[in-house]
């Protein structure tokens, strides 16, 4: 932004005097104008951000550093793959990204045979559309919520990491693991100013083929968005309520008071 202000000090650009409001939001406010159009430096800053986001979509998730991080926190992991063979196919065939490939199905079936006891929670990590989000925040998010669930005495299956995975792939994983509660962490589609946004989808009694109406979503988990702590608190509230009401999705309204108190700066437009 400093460069932006520096390079547009020309007579044809009308500056906006409300630049101080940028402290409240990452939105592209107070960009100024030349005639009614965007000044050159703001235009080029946008183009560079778009170029970065385009590049980020096509970067592959590095599995090893992620599993190492999870192992060192004391969690077991299982590595799985969707039916989409690569990124190009993944982008054009969402149906393939929603299902596990045969090898992964067998892997989970074998695990289940070896561990026939019941399990309550499955946590699934899918790369989605931003490997950066998963790489940066998934391990910390998983640790935060799982430690709270362990305190409640819930049993937790090994963490599944699905490459080329979409949200619905978690249903199949949870079903094969025989889990009652599904927490799915996924890289959300990268925004210009937020290439690292993690999404969380929660489902009570997941099964293959259910619709979004059965899921609760917590979006935009990243340092500049919703904090891991706040997301974790909200998720725990959803889990407790879902167990009480025996449902998730539209039947389970998020009325946790904590969720509404994650912010607090006053709206300056009103007295």
């Amino acid at each position: 932004m400093d460069e932006l202000e520096k390079t547009d000090q020309t007579a044809s650009v009308t500056e906006n005097p409300w630049q101080a409001l940028r402290r409240y939001t990452a939105a592209r406010i107070a960009q100024g104008r030349t005639g009614v159009s965007l000044p050159t430096s703001a235009l080029l800053a946008f183009q560079m951000d778009h170029a970065s986001a385009r590049d980020a979509v096509h970067t592959a998730l590095q599995i090893e550093p992620l599993t190492e991080e999870l192992h060192s926190a004391g969690y077991q992991t299982i590595q799985l793959h969707s039916r989409a063979s690569d990124r190009t196919e993944y982008l054009q065939r969402p149906d393939l990204g929603r299902r596990l490939d045969m090898r992964s199905v067998k892997q989970l079936q074998q695990y289940r045979q070896q561990h026939p006891g019941s399990v309550q929670v499955a946590l699934v990590i899918a790369d989605g559309l931003s490997s950066l989000a998963v790489q940066s925040h998934a391990a910390a998010m998983a640790g935060s919520v799982l430690s709270r669930l362990a305190d409640r005495g819930l049993s937790i299956a090994p963490l599944s990491i699905v490459s080329q995975g979409r949200v619905a792939v978690g249903d199949e994983v949870a079903e094969l693991l025989g889990a009652e509660l599904l927490i799915l962490l996924v890289g959300e589609r990268p925004g210009l100013s937020s290439p690292d946004s993690l999404g969380i989808y929660y489902t009570y009694q997941p099964s293959v083929g259910l619709t979004d109406a059965r899921r609760n979503c917590i979006s935009n988990v990243r340092p500049a968005g919703m904090s891991i702590e706040a997301a974790s608190e909200k998720l725990i509230w959803l889990i407790d309520e879902s167990v009480r009401l025996k449902c998730s999705g539209v039947g389970l309204k998020d009325q946790s008071v904590s969720s509404s108190k994650i912010h607090g700066r006053k709206n300056f437009l009103l007295p």
Binding site: T14, N16, P17, W18, A20, L21, Y24, T25, A26, A27, R28, I29, A30, Q31, R33, G35, V36, S37, L38, A42, F46, H50, A53, R54, L91, Q92, R93, P94, R189, P190, G191, L192, S193, S194, T211, D212, A213, C217, I218, S219, N220, G225, M226, K234, G249, V250, K253, D254, Q255, S256, S259, S260, I262, H263, R265, K266, N267, F268, L269, L270
Partner: protein
């Protein structure tokens, strides 16, 4: 079940039923390929268009693409069809209907009278035969005006939804984007927030905040927080100030099921919001969003192509007499609309089809970072839609939605197209902008910030 066919040169082409004919006649898009419905070759596509052109419009009254026994949207389409309104075109084929629409016989008045005589499938069918310029020309003859606290959709009016989204719904962050938008003349269609969460308390806090801002500055516009319809009904019941009720809708019952809604629920919401009588110049209270691909995305398309499913959603919308209908054209991603070319065509089709059915159409001219599209594509679609007479577009700081992670039109973009085509905001809002000192009498932005607003900055 009738078999449809056409002959080109030596080759005869056959199509098993109406929905296959419609699907094969659809200009190429990735969503129909994904569903396995697209034409297998370029020649098959044009052959289907030829067979479709010879089809009597009346066929659509006898053969349904989705059986009414299993789909309440099909039942709504049949039950709401007006044979008297249909009479002037009832003898035409789809191909002749295109000719009629482009002729001088089709003017604003005759198109308005015709709207309730048309079914979504008729309109989808004719759009598949049309070029971009046809979609623009016919749409530009339609005027679908609505009102709440201002009058939208009049000739020479281009409105904007001010979309001040913030990743955690921070009141100061939302307010910063609202101020930015107002200073650029945005917000006459609605000031509408996509909340980061569906949390009831957070949503109602935002609703109260928007209501307070609109009242405090006397802005002739309406507010909306885009949460699930059931949340909004509950809020109305608890006395929270709601101007417009929002809901995403789709063109099949099964897809609407996946959104957790049905027609009865929308009817309940419409009635509850209308009874509040919060509008000053009109009482259209519904705000719907749609987009090609939503039915397929929910695995609820019944083998019907995505553009026809989309137009069926407009039958749902018009049943509730909405203030705004917004096709969110590029949000869904490249698996449905692969690139700029497909997004542009889809946006123009949606606008044309919605207008012909009588709806106050707007468009979220947008793309995501995993689509093969960029700002140049958006400029083309914006320019074409504005020439076609679109009612409203989005307005967001710098075109970058920092909550939903996609790019849509900016406040600057709206001013660009207003300047090029001589368009203005809704008259009541236009008047307010001048009274508030945001714009000069000719409509251009003022050079300095009005004191009412610049004084706020001193107290930060």
């Amino acid at each position: 079940m009738t078999v449809y066919s056409s002959t080109a040169g030596q080759q005869r082409w056959q199509f098993a039923d109406l929905k296959e004919l419609l699907a094969k006649a659809t200009p190429l898009r990735s969503g129909d390929c994904l569903a396995g419905l697209a034409a297998g070759s370029a020649r098959q596509r044009v052959a289907a268009q030829m067979a479709l052109a010879d089809l009597p419009l009346k066929t659509f009254l006898h053969e349904q693409v989705i059986p009414p026994e299993v789909d309440e949207v099909s039942r709504l389409i049949i039950d709401s069809h007006d044979p008297v309104a249909f009479a002037p075109v009832s003898h035409l084929t789809v191909g002749d209907f295109r000719n009629w629409l482009l002729s001088d016989a089709a003017d604003s008045a005759s198109l308005k009278r015709l709207a309730m005589g048309l079914t979504p499938e008729m309109v989808a069918a004719v759009s598949k035969l049309m070029r971009v310029q046809d979609l623009i020309l016919v749409a530009s003859k339609c005027r679908n005006e609505t009102a709440f606290r201002n009058s939208l959709g009049g000739k020479g009016v281009l409105s904007t939804r001010l979309q001040p989204n913030h990743p955690v719904d921070d009141p100061a962050g939302v307010a910063a984007s609202i101020l930015d938008g107002l200073m650029y003349g945005s917000g006459d269609a609605v000031i509408g927030i996509n909340p980061a969460s569906d949390n009831y308390t957070a949503v109602t806090d935002l609703l109260k905040m928007l209501d307070d801002i609109i009242n405090h500055y006397g802005i002739p516009t309406q507010s909306c927080v885009l949460t699930h319809v059931t949340n909004q009904i509950e809020a109305i019941n608890r006395g929270v100030p709601i101007d417009l009720v929002f809901q995403s809708i789709a063109g099949t019952q099964a897809a609407n099921d996946s959104f957790g809604i049905n027609l009865a629920m929308l009817g309940e919401a419409n009635q509850a919001a209308r009874e509040l009588q919060r509008g000053s110049v009109g009482n259209n209270v519904m705000y719907f969003e749609t987009g090609q691909g939503s039915a397929l995305s929910a695995n609820a398309h019944h083998g019907v192509d995505q553009q026809t499913c989309e137009v069926r959603a407009y039958a749902v919308a018009r049943h509730f007499d909405p203030l705004l209908v917004n096709t969110v054209v590029g949000f869904i991603g490249p698996e449905y609309l692969y690139d700029g070319k497909q997004i542009i065509r889809a946006g123009l089709e949606d606008h044309f089809c919605g207008k012909l059915l009588g709806l106050p159409m707007g468009c979220d001219i947008c793309y995501t970072n995993h689509a093969e599209a960029d700002q140049d594509d958006m400029d083309m679609l914006l320019t074409q839609l504005a020439v076609a007479g679109i009612n409203f577009i989005m307005g967001i700081p710098g075109g970058d939605d920092i909550m939903l992670n996609y790019q849509t039109t900016s406040f600057h973009d709206a001013l660009y197209i207003r300047e090029v085509l001589g368009l203005r905001p809704a008259p009541e809002f236009d008047h307010w902008l001048q009274q508030a000192g945001i714009t000069q009498p000719g409509g251009r932005l003022a050079d300095t910030m009005p004191a009412t607003f610049s004084n706020l900055l001193k107290q930060l």
